[in-house]
Assembly symmetry: C2
Homo-oligomer: 186 residues x 2
């Protein structure tokens, strides 16, 4: 999904400023979507030009004029159309797996380091998601996204924990057998 659509989705949860939209991404959406100011503000501008969002300026705040955006009826029905027709795709890219794929080109220590780093990252992400889960009152759909995310992350963590010893051992074996013929690592 592009940033304009993400903004429509964020605003469907209630009116918000560009800044607050980003905050909203960072709490609720965090583990499956994100956007920076550099794409949010232009998106909001474009959505305004298309009449899909409107804003009111809040002056009682001491800060530079805060623009509080909300969906117009047109924006509402646009979001509805998107929700009704969008295909539920997923995109995954992993430098972690690329590195492991190339494990035969590294030392066993480096491989172990990569596995450890990845496991640690997953542990942190699990902890983070758990805290979100506890914080808010959520719809069934929202709760599902968190539970699903937790299931996925825990499974990947478990996969590493389960397989790492065998991998490291096999890796060491592969390395020593090829090192008999060729040179060691630089």
């Amino acid at each position: 999904m592009d940033t304009p659509t993400l903004c429509l989705a964020a605003l469907a949860l209630g009116e918000a400023s560009g800044y607050e939209i980003k905050k909203r991404f960072e709490s609720a959406f965090r583990h499956f979507q994100h956007a920076g100011y550099g794409s949010i503000y232009p998106a909001l501008k474009r959505l305004g030009a298309e009449g899909l969002v409107a804003f009111r300026e809040e002056q009682d705040t001491p800060h530079p004029a805060k623009k509080v955006f909300s969906l117009t009826p047109a924006g509402d029905s646009r979001l509805q159309t998107i929700l009704d027709n969008a295909e539920p795709s997923e995109k995954y890219r992993s430098d972690f797996l690329l590195l492991v794929f190339m494990a035969h080109l590294m030392s066993t220590e480096r491989l172990a380091q990569i596995l450890d780093a990845q496991a640690q990252r997953l542990r942190a992400e699990v902890a983070e998601l758990e805290s979100i889960s506890a914080e808010h009152e959520l719809t069934a759909g929202m709760q599902f996204t968190i539970d699903f995310g937790l299931d996925a992350k825990r499974a990947r963590l478990a996969s590493i924990e389960k397989r790492q010893d065998a991998l490291l051992e096999a890796h060491r074996a592969e390395r020593t057998s090829t090192d008999e013929a060729s040179h060691g690592s630089p």
Copy 2:
């Protein structure tokens, strides 16, 4: 990882043409990295200019002159440097979860359809990965990437299967309770 790096990695498995590099992505890397011709050929050109790859032209093929690329020593050590210093990051984006997050704005039927589509996609991906796993002889690292991918995909599939009935029921309940006060879906 950018496409040039991906090409270096692909060529570390043995010399190949641009076309074959893409094929290589599609078999071995498929579930965690990808690149199109529109980025592979320019990448190869740039790598050649930097002296990281070299090519020989194959004339015995009947097709337009096939360029078979291979890593130069410089390319080899560049890849080594990348492998030694790269951080094992992962990127995940899901329109599927965004849709489920917004489930309160759809009918229960639509939500069920989304869940079903996602489950089916995961089943197909699992089957595909399983066939790769059986096909080739792989290093321990390569086998890990497949096993890890399978663990992850199976876990996500199981998560959906486990939670979908409860989700659908809760969703229906939320909908009917709010529909008492507001209008139904269009």
